[in-house]
């Protein structure tokens, strides 16, 4: 090795040589190297060796001016055009137009597309919540009053009371960092004792309630710090406990079940508890010695924390950063703040606050703005707490960067509640005031105050006969119905909007003014026309009701909105620093958000108008689309170009909705996280892997009508990026030509079902003419090319839009003529249908058309009732739960439980003994159950009537594979014709087989050897010829068993990576497999009869990961939707799914994905589709201790669907759910059948364990 590695390490030469020879050989093969280079975007150098590679070089685009022929040889008209094109369209970019956006959801479209739309209708938006914790004063008797507790949830934006939860006294509450769960502790919440209640923070629905075995700390009049703390994901709750004397500690409870987990000693500290975001450390403030203690939660030991001793006045946490701010002081001059990084377990800053403050010590009047930039401290006088006379009339606000006071908020109404709660606007806080009747302690009315740096203090809400103890700020994800597509009214009309500029014939002012017109696309009739300024830019609102226009006039730049029905100007606002592209480039610098509420203008301060400068500050100006009012701006630090903000929806991985920018020069995609108002650019590298493996540039782009999907064409590869998820799907377009060379124009049909790609035809390309002569039409479900439009006319403009019918496009050809005075142009707008003859819509003289948009407007705004909702599911739909029973007494068993999913009633259960398993026959008549005999005599297979659970027959079986504790995928499968039952089995060390049973009587028919050994699941084909063995969590392709020869037919080629999930349609014809290709998710659909891959899609998912070790994949019964659990693989080897993605199987791209959010983390091995094809059942198993300290496993089956929040379906105590499946059972009772024992088969044999080979011989010979 010394000749390989030169350092001064002394190595025995013999050993060096020995190890070098044994370990230092081998390397990647040429084929592997080739694949790696393809993935890295590198290509081999022509004629080069393996060591010579280069990156692809993007070839130059066709010249706009003809080069093959001398200019003089061109016809006069064309030469003139070419000259002008060089001047006016010199930078006709490769990207396509912002497509016209339509509100025509109700018209046309096939059922598949309708289903897709339906799938994306329900989204979530984040709403600000304020929880008010209060004591309610009841009946008075003398000086005594009945006291109860209450928690009220407010929606901050509307001020509406969302729900109220009444509970016992001494109430306290805390919210999980994700805002999903609200925990309430109160005396009397569990009988007369202290109890803890977990609540769905969104709805106020109680999830569970448990008595607290240990006494909770009660502060006098509840005027102390909170007694609760919650881990970041809500999985643990920490409750301050006491013996009623002077001993204090913390009790840890399971946030999913309420089970007490352990006691954490705090050395009697009790003045506030905080959990680090990584859930590794618990911090407790000590009021006795004013210290902060840190406790390692894994070891339950103290962490050395060099925190100073301060007279603690309060503390607050910035959740995202995990910084804990402790405000304290030792008198007038000693006030300061200590900042602790809770993850790093270190004091990261100590600062004096620079002014004399005296925090209201016994109130927790400290709050941090959500962005961490401001610290709010309520000032007051320390007065005897028992008199409840502590109050604060002033809140001072510090900048946490400079620790300078940046404002004081004075309030006439004193703050007497315990807490401040920072609002999401980062400039205001909520506080409370309790007014007491003179001479008594009975509250009459309390107020919740909103104190802002930018507004006069105001009363947010009032509470009668309540004393507000605390206010808690949080956020919650609320499902919102996307704006319901307006059904097409009887009287609507299509309008074609033409945005153009006029060309003057004077040479010194070629472009003089802009114009916006609305035309009848059939007759060319002009409905209205509006004159505009130069450098006109425009975008249509998603609902088609408004056209937003930016232009430049003698009085500067303006942004304004036009009513598309009348052309009337709705509002107008001046703007500065607007950027624009060269007219005719097709690049709009305007964008509108998916909800139509905000218009975004790309701007550059210090640039020179037209987007060219490399210097200056790039930013987006945002305006209220309804009023034109300026809202805010967002910095973009890197590239400049057309930009969109991701739709108002979940955008995992980003704190704020990211900005997508198609960069002007590189044509690459940048994603900007605008959190905290500071642009943070994520380079396009994040998409190199999935989006542009061959090139970093986008040749053309178009937005989907709902503004959710961004389609990018790079060469002939198309990427669909779901901007709400930062995920992309790629497909290879079946184009005849290299689109990168053909200047593609893109347009999407209003329902997203058709993508139109215009490109230079061969003649134009060969002659270097920038004239689009053909339009290819792709079906966005199959990505097959479904047609081609020969335009007849040569489209010379980048203006390109689909018609409302979704089956045709509009394009423009322009004829430029040189005149004695300058240039004359005549633009012709063409209607190009997929089926039918092209037609001319209109001709515009002296106008160059820049943009086209198509949409409908209401002539008669009559409404049409929406279709009735889907009927309720049929009564015979069942959910089957296979569970392991873990009895507290140590007895283990198994059970298969059947639920009626319509009534949620328990239909029946079957005790199975340990290692249970079950499968339903495809006709819904039979439920086959496998289990082990509790007496240890072996395994048993039974056939049961699926309707009633009554046993039809049972036989002993041997050598079926048993997963650890029964956990794992099912080992059973039934043939589609119902005649055979397959059991995945082992025949000895390293040898696997499939046993085939006759379902008539349980007879073992055949044993198939040579089966892959893995965590396998079996899928039979409908023609009963093939059986697929899918290995989960393995990098093994599915094996096909030929059921006619009962031998392996080999593995299915074309499936790589680690298989993460498998599910089949109910008829077995399609098998869906998810696999992880180098951390990308690939979805493969197998035609099980044909033994071929029917479809394959790559999904780039930055936000979530497919889970390798859970088979969280399910198909709805009608096959229309695919459900996939996504989450994280945890270091402890126990993965959890945090949400369920739902695909529309008709389209299979990220655009059809909707996320369903479970109540908690999912960790079961399966999902089961709901009977309505729109929902899914999932499992959460939790393990802990019951109040008596005994081990307790709890299986929570939850349901989640498109139409409602997730909710618990069933909770099985002392159970661990192993598998779920659903199906429709037959209502027809089966005739009794002869059990196998009566016809004398396998059960009469006595065989030792693990000798299936013997069994095979007997069975085969015996038959």
């Amino acid at each position: 090795m010394s000749d390989m590695i030169r350092d001064d390490l002394q190595v025995d030469p013999r050993l060096d040589t020995l190890l070098s020879r044994a370990l230092g050989r081998g390397g990647v093969t040429r084929e592997q190297r080739q694949r790696h280079f393809e993935r890295l975007g590198l290509v081999p150098r022509l004629g080069g060796s393996a060591g010579q590679w280069r990156a692809p070089v993007v070839e130059g685009r066709p010249q706009l001016e003809p080069t093959a022929r001398p200019a003089s040889a061109l016809p006069r008209r064309r030469r003139q055009w070419a000259e002008l094109a060089a001047a006016v369209l010199a930078v006709i970019l490769v990207a396509a137009l912002l497509v016209a956006l339509f509100r025509d959801w109700g018209s046309g479209g096939d059922e598949q597309l309708a289903a897709s739309r339906e799938a994306i209708e329900t989204r979530y938006e984040t709403r600000e919540r304020l929880y008010v914790v209060s004591h309610v004063y009841g009946r008075e008797e003398g000086f005594e009053v009945e006291l109860d507790g209450r928690v009220t949830a407010y929606d901050v934006a509307s001020g509406d009371e969302v729900y109220t939860i009444d509970t016992g006294s001494q109430v306290d509450a805390a919210v999980s960092a994700d805002g999903k769960r609200l925990f309430i502790a109160a005396l009397g919440a569990a009988g007369t004792s202290d109890g803890l209640i977990a609540v769905d923070a969104l709805t106020g629905r109680e999830l569970w309630r448990t008595p607290l075995a240990e006494r909770r700390l009660h502060w006098i009049l509840s005027l102390g710090p909170t007694t609760l703390a919650v881990s970041s994901d809500g999985s643990r709750v920490y409750v301050q406990s006491t013996d009623g004397g002077h001993a204090y500690w913390i009790t840890e409870l399971d946030g999913e079940t309420g089970a007490a987990m352990r006691r954490i000693e705090t050395n009697n500290c009790r003045s506030g508890t905080f959990v680090s975001p990584d859930d590794r450390t618990l911090y407790v403030l000590c009021d006795g010695n004013s210290r902060l203690r840190a406790i390692d939660l894994s070891t339950n030991t103290d962490v050395d924390l060099d925190a100073p001793t301060v007279n603690v006045a309060g503390a607050a946490v910035v959740r995202d950063t995990g910084l804990l701010y402790i405000v304290g002081g030792n008198g007038v001059s000693g006030s300061g703040v200590t900042v602790v990084d809770m993850n790093a377990r270190a004091v990261v800053e100590e600062a004096g606050l620079g002014i004399d403050i005296r925090p209201a010590r016994l109130l927790r009047l400290v709050a941090l703005s959500p962005d961490g930039s401001r610290l709010f401290i309520g000032l007051g006088t320390d007065v005897d707490a028992s008199s409840a006379a502590v109050s604060s009339r002033q809140v001072v606000v510090f900048d946490t960067g400079s620790w300078q006071a940046v404002g004081r908020i004075a309030t006439e109404t004193p703050i007497t509640g315990q807490t401040l709660a920072a609002a999401q606007d980062n400039v205001s806080v909520f506080a409370s005031h309790n007014a007491f009747r003179d001479g008594t302690s009975v509250s009459t009315v309390s107020s919740i105050l909103r104190l802002s740096l930018e507004a006069i203090p105001a009363t947010f809400a009032s509470r009668e006969r309540e004393e507000v103890l605390a206010v808690i700020a949080s956020q919650v994800d609320v499902p919102v119905e996307r704006p319901t597509p307006t059904p097409e009214a009887s009287a609507t009309r299509e309008q074609l909007y033409v945005v153009s500029h006029e060309l003057s014939q004077r040479r010194d002012a070629l472009i003089t003014a802009g114009r916006v017109s609305a035309l009848n696309p059939v007759t060319g009739e002009e409905f209205w026309s509006v004159e505009a300024g130069q450098r006109i830019d425009a975008v249509l609102s998603p609902d088609g009701r408004r056209l937003f226009v930016a232009d430049s006039g003698s009085d500067g730049d303006h942004l304004y909105a036009l009513d598309t029905q009348t052309g009337r100007e709705l509002w107008r606002t001046p703007i500065n620093d607007r950027q624009w592209h060269k007219p005719g480039s097709g690049q709009s610098m305007l964008a509108v958000t998916d909800d139509g509420a905000t218009v975004t203008v790309y701007s550059c301060e210090g640039c020179t108008g037209e987007i060219r400068s490399d210097t200056g500050r790039n930013w987006l100006q945002r305006f209220d689309a309804a009023t034109g009012a300026y809202q805010t701006n967002l910095d973009i630090t890197e590239c400049r170009g057309v930009a969109w903000q991701a739709p108002e929806a979940a955008t995992e991985g980003f704190r704020a909705r990211p900005i997508y920018v198609i960069c002007d020069r590189s044509r690459s995609l940048e994603i900007v996280d605008p959190s905290n108002g500071q642009g943070v650019t994520l380079t396009h590298d994040v998409f190199l892997e999935g989006g542009f493996p061959d090139s970093t540039s986008a040749d053309a782009h178009v937005l989907s009508p709902d503004r959710r999907l961004l389609y990018l064409v790079s060469g002939n590869r198309l990427s669909m990026i779901d901007m709400t998820r930062t995920a992309a799907t790629r497909v290879q377009l079946d184009a005849d030509v290299d689109l990168a060379q053909r200047m593609p124009l893109l347009a999407l049909s209003p329902n997203g079902g058709r993508l139109f790609i215009g490109s230079l035809d061969d003649a134009a390309y060969a002659e270097g003419r920038a004239e689009v002569g053909q339009v290819d039409v792709y079906d966005t479900s199959s990505w097959e090319r479904v047609g081609q439009i020969e335009s007849g006319a040569q489209l010379t403009s980048t203006a390109f839009a689909t018609a409302v019918d979704g089956e045709s496009v509009y394009g423009v050809s322009a004829d430029f003529q040189a005149t004695d005075d300058g240039i004359a142009v005549e633009s012709t707008i063409h209607h190009l249908p997929l089926d039918g003859e092209p037609a001319t819509v209109a001709t515009r003289t002296n106008e160059e058309v820049l943009y086209l948009f198509s949409g409908t407007v209401e002539v008669d705004p009559a409404t049409v009732p929406l279709p009735a909702p889907t009927p309720a599911p049929a009564a015979q739909e069942r959910l089957f739960v296979v569970s392991r029973v873990a009895d507290p007494g140590g007895v283990e068993g198994g059970r298969v439980t059947a639920y009626d999913t319509q009534t949620t009633d328990l239909a029946y259960w079957i005790e199975t003994g340990p290692d249970p398993d079950a499968v339903l026959s495809h006709d819904g008549t039979r439920l086959y159950v496998a289990g082990s005999d509790p007496d240890g005599s072996g395994d048993i297979l039974s056939a049961n009537e699926a309707l009633s659970g009554e046993e039809l027959w049972s036989v002993p079986i041997h050598n079926r594979v048993q997963w650890m504790g029964g956990e794992g995928p099912t080992t059973l499968a039934v043939s589609q014709d119902g005649t055979r039952l397959f059991i995945y089995s082992t025949t000895g060390p390293g040898s696997y087989a499939i046993q085939v049973f006759d379902t008539a009587d349980g007879r073992l028919g055949r044993v198939i050897h040579g089966v892959a050994g893995c965590v396998a699941q079996l899928f039979p084909s409908p023609d009963n010829r093939s059986l697929y063995v899918v290995c989960l969590s393995e990098r093994v392709a599915p094996q096909v068993i030929d059921l006619e020869t009962m031998t392996s037919a080999g593995v299915l080629p074309g499936i790589g990576g680690y298989v993460t999930g498998a599910a089949a349609t109910s008829d077995g014809s399609r098998l869906y497999i998810t696999h992880d290709i180098d951390t990308e998710l690939r979805l493969t659909v197998i035609d099980t009869n044909g033994r071929v891959i029917a479809d394959q899609r790559d999904i780039v998912h930055l936000a979530a990961n497919p889970l390798h070790s859970l088979n969280l994949l399910a198909l709805s019964q009608d096959g229309s939707r695919l459900f996939l659990g996504v989450g994280e693989e945890r270091d402890d080897g126990n993965p959890v799914a945090r949400e369920v993605w739902v695909w529309d199987t008709a389209q299979l791209h990220v655009g059809s994905i909707q996320a369903l959010r479970p109540l908690g983390n999912l960790n079961g091995w399966s999902l089961a589709a709901g009977p309505d094809n729109r929902s899914v059942y999932a499992v959460q198993n939790s393990h802990g201790l019951d109040p008596g300290g005994q081990p307790r496993s709890t299986a929570t089956i939850s349901w989640m669907g498109f139409d409602a929040q997730a909710e618990n379906f069933a909770v099985l105590t002392h159970h661990e759910t192993l598998r779920l499946f659903s199906g429709r059972v037959s209502n027809t009772p089966l005739l009794s059948e002869s059990p196998a024992t009566e016809i004398g088969m396998v059960d009469k044999l006595t065989l030792p364990d693990g000798c299936l080979s013997n069994l095979v011989a007997v069975a085969s010979g015996g038959s």
Binding site: I5, L23, G24, V28, H36, E689, V961, G990
Partner: protein, 196 residues
Amino acid sequence: VNDLSLDRQASGSGSRVDVSDDAALVAAACGDRREFAILYERYADRLYRYALARTGSDAAADDIVSETMVAALEGIGRFDPDRGTVAGWLFAIAARKLADRGRRRSRARRLLGRLRGHDGADEDALETVIRGEDAALVRRLLAGLSKRDRELVLLRYSAGLNSVEIAEALGISSGAARVRLSRVLRRLAAELGDDP
């Protein structure tokens, strides 16, 4: 990165390259992706051998090399030559990828481990990579090492890293890497001394 000015064999082909320009190559690749190809050629085989020794699976090693290279290319702008060597950086990425892979497979492996009749398909990965006429001897030598010590040996002899680079790959100090490696090799040499 240039401190060591090391020469080392780039691959099994026996060609010799100067790695002192590693940092320059990274810088060049920041501006021109094609330059990354040279880095790939320089390190792919060594990454592969290391991954193969860790996983025992050709397919997995193939994946690890691919994932490592893609991650390196994506993050090439973040490589800081003042903080370490290119080799240490690349192998640290590979080590993380291997750890991720281990997490992904852990539950399935647990299931298989309890599977009746299962013979432990995840046999010692090293068994599959030790080659040559002295394979049995090397197997015996390495069998006595802890997992941590084996890792050191692999990084040195499969990946061809020196002690500084090993330290960077493992996130430990170079002194610790050097001392640990010396001890391991001395122990192996002592065991070897008894062999004919």
